[in-house]
Structure formats: structure tokens, C-alpha cells
Symmetry: C2
Subunit: 332 residues, 2 copies
């Protein structure tokens, strides 16, 4: 059944520019960082860490925004809500989304905080360790939520990272009500284990209320949400309450569960992992694009796997290759 | 004879952040651009063109600064003089040089113009078409010239691009006198044919006065400078007046002429040209690093060819691979 909505998906997420530098493991150790993790840092720590980093490349990022960029590249109609400041990095972030035809009109903050940036250290094994200065991004107010546009989108996609700041949490909570009131679907990504540590009770309550139609998680996150150590137990528990559960498992591929029916896909083969930044974001992009095209769950998983594979074969979370061609080569 | 100078090279150049996007040939045509060229644009045109560009990656650039970044990666002691503004892109430019241990202390402009940016369109053939908004960069004043540091550097390296703005031209003219007064060498790169169109008389006069010890050019530039169409005639004419002339010839390699003695090197083999941005800059980096190491002219040319080859196999003008290891693999 073709939808008459104007957008396939509207996402609310952090509006971040990534600052990506190669780093030796010794720097990760010297800085006391947990490899592969994301942590929030303040402006002072951002300055200090930046000074210890090597030459970098700047590229638009943000988890949900990366997902939209991937979906737009795959031909979906997308809209974004997120807060930048009126500065050069905010200009970069805005340009890069609009250049992909993503509708993005959240007015920039005139003052108060600069555009968010994420200092990403990529070690020789391709792992990324993220240090995020949220700046303007966590100042997203409820007034910035374009309710008409949410009502005009098939899916509202929310990133868990934005559940942490009180202002944006309230904005997202409102957006959920708007989407449901308009009969739209709500998709949520758990983002990171630390978010679940802080807000797991919220998420479990929202799930109990039946407010999430699609839930994205990785292995660590689904276990944290379920409060169990066994992956299959966690999947069984959460999938009983969510219409569509999607769990990524890195090199083990991914699974989706719909009404107790579990579908699996292996990871795509890859020569060398260059940078894992954006792997989960692009998996979600491929999966949701498949949903928008009305494909089977197995094909949606494959599209996710192809996109994730392509993004970890390059530096940064925005695809520099033709994703659509890669997916077409795989699925036709 | 080992030098006692503190720096192998000090460069004066544009302080630019590159904004690099892939583009189809149709965009180059629609914009009426000359593929492979560099043009100067104002703030308004920069905004307009940026809006028509695809998603981009930001990376520090600037011709002489790229050369220094390459030399620093090869182990040379380098210093830079160039003008950024006190803004986010200026911060990026400054960080990226300092992260390579390049001494760079030119105070940022507090107001008046933003940091320069170069909008670079990279077509499928790997050619780059550059559109430069000079902003703060062309406001480099003579007062910013650190005379003690110039006197303490074996080579003063100047980019022709900065000969165009009157302020920076005066600053560079002073720097030449300081370097020569201290018994140091002066190296100059002609940068672009349009610079020679405007300032060829200046350059020919400086050469006649014997102020350039090393001159870098490409085929088009050397012919423009000599005012002849025949490459060999141009080389013979200019090399008679410059102690060391280095001319790059893209896929035909490069030549150097010292006291009438011509040495040639072929281009390094390459699988695919990804982006030619910085090819000439990195050739100069390899060549000058060879000079700093006291290598033969043939080896200096080879180092230049290796560095140029590596930089065109990636996006952007700052090496993301280990240049030193590549040169060592070639020359030991």
C-alpha cells in the first residue's frame, strides 16, 4: 500500500560535525579512553583532547543524521530536526544534509553554544572512539519540533543519544505523541549502553505502552535493556513487546524479529575495516530504506548489511561511494 | 654540511580550509568553470556555489601549507606564516599544522573576514576544480612576518598565489630580503598561470636580480613565465637564470635543471587517480625534503614523484597515509 505521506522518514537527532583523526592505541591508553565507546565531554576537555590529536578531517555526522544521509542516498524522502548554532560548523552540517535533499529547517541558535562536534580517534584496527561535545545540539527545544512535518512522515526515527539532555528528551517525547496521533510509526535506536544505564526505565515504559514500532539495538544494548546477559533471552524478551526488533551484531551480521519470527543475515565480506564510525547508523539506513520500498525483512537486513559494510570501508560516517549502486548490485 | 638553522623550511602561504565534494562534469559545465583551474571568488559567490555542491568533506589546505604538512610528515622541521581568522575553520587549520609539529604562531584576525576556504569540485576523472574565497588569508600584513624565524630557516618557501593580494605581496617581498640578508635560500612556486599573467613582470625581475634559488613550476607555468610555447625553450631560458629549476609534468614526470644539467624522473605508477588536489604541493614537499636530507637531485625528484603519487590516490591534499614509509620503501 503506497503511502501518501510527504516523507518516508523524519528523524530527530544530534546535529554534529565529526572531527576524525587517526590515532595509535597508545593515545587511547594515555587518555584513559575506552576503545569503541562514546563519551560526552565539555568545551574545555574538547579543546584539551583536540590539541593532543593528529591532523583531522571534518565531516558531518550525528547518528540519526547519518542514517538519513544514507537513506537519502538510497532514494528516500527524508526530513531532519536537530539543533546547530549559527557558526561555520553549523553551516557545514546544514549544507551536507540539504545537499542530499534532506528537508532540514530547524533555525540555528544565534548564541549560547557552538555547533556540536565529535572528536573521533580511529585506531589502526579501524575502531572508533568518540568524544562528543554536544554544544548547541542538546539545546533542542520542543518549539523546534515541526509537528505538521512529523504528521506527514511515514516513520518518526529517534536516536537514544538525544534522550539524555532534558530539553531534547521533552521534545522527542512530544514528537512521539504527534506521530502516533497521526497514525505514523515510531522507530527508536538505543544508541549506546550508557544511555540505557541512565534511561532504561524510560525506554522500558515506552515499550510497555506500545509506543515503539521499530527498535534498533546492538548486542550490548539489547542485553542492557533486557537486564540479562544472554543474547537470545534478551532478544526473546524485548521482541515480545516490540512489533519489529532489529539487532546488529558486528561481524556476526544482524537479526530481525517480527511476531516471534526471527530472520538472520550474515555480515557482508570486507577486505579491511578502515573506520567503524557510522556502521550502526548506516545499517539502520539500509534497513529503513528497505522498509520504505516495501521489501521483505530479509532484504531489509541485507540492505542494512551492505550499507554498514560500505561505510566501514572508508573514513567517516557519510558515504563517499554510490550506496544505491552497491545495493542494486546486491539485490537488484 | 649540516645546517645550524632551527628550521629546514619556513613557508608563507594562504591559510585555507578545503571543502571537497565529488561533482559530475555536468556541474562544472553548468557553472561555467574551467576544469583543473583555480579561480578566486567572493563571499557571495562562495555561498551560491556551495549551495549547488554535494555533501563535502573539510580538510586543511593551502598550497604552501600542504607542502609543509608533507615535509613535516617526512621528518623535516617546518614553520608557517599565514593568516586565519579567529573562527572555527581557523581553529581547524591551526590545529592541523600544529598537530604535525609545524611551528605556526601568526595571530588570528579578530575581525574583518572569515578564514579562507576553497570549494573544490572533484570530477569522476579525479581532476580538481578550485574556487577560492580568500577571506582573512589575503590580509596577511608585513607585521606578521617573523623575521627572526625566517633568518633561522634554511629555506624560505613562498607560494605565488599570495603574490596577488597587495598586502601579502609586500609581506613576502620583505621576507625575501630578510632571508637573503641572513644568507638563506629562497624557493618560489609559481602556483597558477593566472598569477603569472598578472605578475609575470615581477617574477622575471626577481629572477633577474637573483633572488630565487629554487623555482617550482608546471609545464603551463614555465611556458607562461618564459613567454614561449615550446617547453624545452622555456626550460632552457628560465634555467639559465635560476640556480635550481624544478618543473612538474603530471603523468610525464618531472625535471630539474642545475647549471645546465637536466635530470628527469618518470611519474610513479598509480592504479586510479582519485583527486589531483595537492599533487604539485606534495611534489614540492618530497623534493624539498630530499634537499633538506642532502640527497641527489635525482633522489629529490623521486621523493617528489612518490609524494605526488600518494596524494592523488586519496581525497584531499593532506596525506592520510604514512608518507615517510612510502618514501623509505622506494629509496631506503
Amino acid at each position: 500500500m503506497a503511502s501518501t505521506a510527504r516523507f518516508d522518514v523524519i528523524a530527530i537527532g544530534n546535529a554534529i560535525v565529526d572531527v576524525i583523526a587517526r590515532a595509535e592505541d597508545s593515545l587511547i591508553e594515555a587518555e584513559g579512553l575506552v576503545k569503541g565507546s562514546m563519551r560526552l565531554i565539555d568545551a574545555e576537555e574538547a579543546e584539551r583532547l583536540y590539541a593532543s590529536m593528529g591532523p583531522a578531517v571534518e565531516m558531518s555526522g550525528g547518528s540519526a543524521a547519518n542514517t538519513l544521509a544514507g537513506m537519502a542516498a538510497l532514494g528516500c524522502k527524508c526530513a531532519f530536526i536537530g539543533q546547530v548554532a549559527d557558526d561555520q560548523l553549523g553551516h557545514v552540517f546544514t549544507h551536507d544534509l540539504r545537499a542530499l535533499n534532506v528537508a532540514y529547517d530547524t533555525p540555528p541558535l544565534a548564541e549560547g553554544a557552538p555547533t556540536a562536534r565529535c572528536l573521533i580517534l580511529v585506531t589502526p584496527d579501524g575502531q572508533r572512539t568518540m568524544n562528543t561535545f554536544l554544544g548547541a545540539s542538546h539545546l533542542l527545544e520542543q518549539a523546534m519540533i515541526d509537528e505538521a512535518r512529523i504528521a506527514d512522515s511515514d516513520i518518526l526515527y529517534l536516536e537514544g543519544y538525544l534522550w539524555d539532555p532534558p530539553l531534547s528528551r521533552a521534545a522527542m517525547r512530544r514528537a512521539i505523541d504527534v506521530a502516533r496521533g497521526a497514525g505514523r510509526k515510531v522507530a527508536f535506536t538505543l544508541s549506546d549502553a550508557f544511555i540505557i544505564d541512565r534511561h532504561g526505565d524510560d525506554f522500558r515504559a515506552l515499550i510497555k505502552e506500545g509506543l515503539f514500532d521499530i527498535l534498533f539495538a546492538n548486542e550490548v544494548e539489547i542485553c542492557a535493556l533486557a537486564g540479562v546477559e544472554d543474547f537470545d533471552v534478551a532478544v526473546a524478551q524485548v521482541s515480545a513487546e516490540v512489533p519489529l526488533l532489529v539487532v546488529t551484531r558486528s561481524e556476526k551480521g544482524a537479526i530481525a524479529v517480527v511476531e516471534g519470527q526471527r530472520t538472520e543475515v550474515g555480515a557482508e565480506p570486507i577486505d579491511a575495516v578502515i573506520d567503524t564510525t557510522g556502521a550502526g547508523d548506516l545499517f539502520a539506513a539500509g534497513f529503513l530504506a528497505g522498509q520504505a520500498e516495501g521489501r521483505s525483512i530479509a532484504e531489509c537486513l541485507t540492505m542494512g548489511a551492505v550499507c554498514a559494510c560500505e561505510i566501514i570501508a572508508q573514513m567517516g560516517p557519510r558515504a563517499q561511494i554510490d550506496l544505491k549502486a552497491r545495493v542494486a548490485a546486491k539485490l537488484g
